[in-house]
């Protein structure tokens, strides 16, 4: 069964293609890595799926349902949640309330916080390892803690598909290992993941499949070890895609 289906998805900014004609499918139970050099269109793709941007053409199907053009909050309620490249916590709210916002509004709305919501929020903080900071203001967390908070808040909305934007960027090997563990725990909850992994320090170890973009186009897809050997992908990463056109 497919979770997410992108059909001929394109996005232009002032007539310039940021993404062109992307076709891709994520199947039930999969973790997919989204790779590509800077400016490849990875974040644009995230913004399209999560409803921040409207595609110029094409369709996005989520669990068979057309979600093209829905607003971010509506997309979230259907079960797609995301984190941000530079994490965006609610700085002047406590860590716990950050997560509670996701817990309370992610699926519906209740006027008052129920005890089980609060318990769930604590549990999620525990999952990402910042339970001891529940009462700290989000602004006072370190950057890596803020990233964890971002993840906890996204999980609190009980997503079916989670979009992770550069969770492990700049992480030391130890932290990367932790992140991998974390991702596997998330997967065990029955969540599908799409992970932007510019530095390629995650997807090789956790992803079932990779989608490689360059200049807004899909240049490869498939199992990590095969995509990684793909000539186009290597060239894109080393900035030599147009080497043949070089005249020196």
């Amino acid at each position: 069964m497919t979770v997410l289906q992108l059909q001929e998805l394109s996005k232009t900014f002032n007539g310039i293609y940021a993404l062109s004609n992307i076709n891709f499918t994520i199947n039930e139970g999969e973790i997919v890595g989204l790779v590509g050099p800077n400016g490849a269109g990875k974040t644009t793709l995230f913004n399209l799926i999560s409803g921040r941007l409207r595609p110029s053409s094409g369709k996005i199907l989520f669990q068979g349902k057309d979600i093209t053009g829905l607003k971010p909050h509506a997309v979230c309620k259907l079960g797609i949640s995301r984190t941000f490249q530079s994490s965006r916590p609610f700085p002047r709210m406590s860590t716990l309330h950050n997560v509670l916002a996701g817990q309370v509004f992610g699926k519906g709305f209740s006027l008052h916080t129920r005890p089980e919501d609060e318990q769930m929020a604590h549990e999620l903080l525990d999952v990402v390892g910042i339970a001891h900071k529940a009462e700290t203001l989000a602004a006072d967390l370190t950057l890596s803690e803020q990233r964890r908070l971002d993840l906890a808040r996204a999980l609190a909305t009980r997503p079916k598909l989670l979009l992770l934007d550069e969770v492990a960027a700049g992480f030391s090997p130890v932290l990367v290992k932790q992140a991998i563990k974390l991702i596997n725990r998330v997967r065990e909850r029955g969540v599908n993941l799409l992970i932007i992994d510019h530095f390629l320090n995650l997807s090789q170890k956790v992803a079932d499949r990779l989608l490689a973009l360059d200049h807004g186009e899909k240049i490869a897809e498939g199992p990590p070890d095969i995509v990684m050997k793909n000539r186009e992908v290597l060239r894109a990463y080393l900035g030599m895609r147009y080497q043949d056109e070089e005249d020196d």
Binding site: H73, R88, L100, L137
Partner: protein
């Protein structure tokens, strides 16, 4: 930088406990005030007005908590005052009926404002509200047939007497009665604001203030909640305007749509602490009497410079407001 200092970022009850002693003392003092001042009319009048302004600040802050700074709440205040005054004076409706109606008119105006300012944030929203006041003001000014234009409305009826069995409360005869009326209204509004902010609505308001994009991503329809906070804020500002009209008996466009009623609630809310429940009301109850009892006698012309100074000092040195700063210390 942390604006919220204490842990109860969601306006929890436990956060109020520390202040509850002070709060209770203040409440008792306010209840006993008429007896304490032996019905000194001037002092009672000042505090009645201070409570009215406290309500304006509380109402302003419903919008303030969700992150928008409005410089144009006089639009709602004036519209509320005129609506209730015209309906009761010209058409003979009872103020008990026209006051809530005035709130509705103000909320309608809020809806229009939302339609115009939908996409605006921060500084641009503030500028838009500054311009927005002019529209109801000029319309009121020019609708001579209904509003008597810039002459204003004289003799707006007072609040009708309430009779509870044999006990009759006559608002027109007793300032003490008016005082208690506004006091009860303040308590009701305060309770409502507290309920609002400690419910999940408060959570949503704060989330869209802090980081709108993330708020939407976790399922909070930001525009809808911003509209809600604007409507509630406008409604209670309108109701307060209507109360003002019936208590003062005289209104004119330059007065009720004036800069004064736009500036005052903002100044009190910011000085008291924009992200607190009580702060705005406290500021009103401290600063306005200070102005009236100390600065007004000293400087009959220009005593309102105090508000400017207080605002400047707060923005520069206590961005969390006084009450917010206090919480930081505790």
């Amino acid at each position: 930088m942390s604006f919220f200092a204490s842990k109860n970022t969601k306006f929890r009850t436990q956060g109020l406990r520390f202040h509850s002693v002070g709060l209770m003392t203040g409440l008792v003092l306010l209840i006993l005030l008429p007896a304490l001042v032996q019905s000194n009319n001037y002092i009672l009048q000042v505090f009645t007005h201070a409570l009215l302004l406290a309500n304006l600040a509380l109402a302003w802050n419903i919008l303030g908590v969700s992150g928008s700074i409005s410089l144009g709440h006089a639009a709602f205040f004036g519209a509320g005052a005129y609506c209730s005054a015209v309906l009761s004076l010209e058409y003979g409706f009872s103020p008990w009926f026209t006051i809530p109606l005035a709130g509705l008119l103000a909320a309608g105006l809020g809806l229009i404002m939302d339609l115009i300012c939908l996409r605006l944030r921060g500084a641009y929203f503030a500028l838009a509200t500054l311009a927005f006041v002019e529209i109801p003001r000029v319309i009121t000014d020019n609708w001579d047939g209904l509003t008597h234009g810039s002459l204003g409305l004289v003799g707006v009826p007072g609040l009708p007497s309430l009779s509870l069995g044999t006990w009759v409360v006559d608002f027109s005869a007793s300032i003490t009665a008016s005082y208690y009326f506004v006091f009860v209204y303040s308590l009701v509004l305060l309770g409502l604001v507290r309920f609002l902010f400690s419910s999940n609505l408060g959570l949503a308001f704060q989330a869209i203030r802090e980081e709108e994009i993330a708020a939407e991503a976790v399922g909070i329809p930001a525009n809808r909640y911003r509209l809600l906070s604007l409507l509630l804020s406008a409604y209670f500002t309108g109701v307060t305007g209507a109360c003002y009209a019936h208590l003062v008996h005289y209104i004119e466009p330059g007065l009720v749509y004036g800069l004064h009623f736009s500036a005052i609630p903002m100044i009190f809310a910011i000085c008291g602490g924009r992200f607190t429940i009580l702060g705005p009301a406290m500021a009103a109850l401290v600063i306005y009497p200070l102005d009236q009892f100390v600065f007004h006698p000293l400087l009959p012309a220009g005593h309102e410079f105090l508000y400017g100074v207080v605002l400047i000092l707060t923005v520069l040195f206590l961005p969390a407001g006084f009450w917010g700063g206090l919480r930081k210390v505790s």
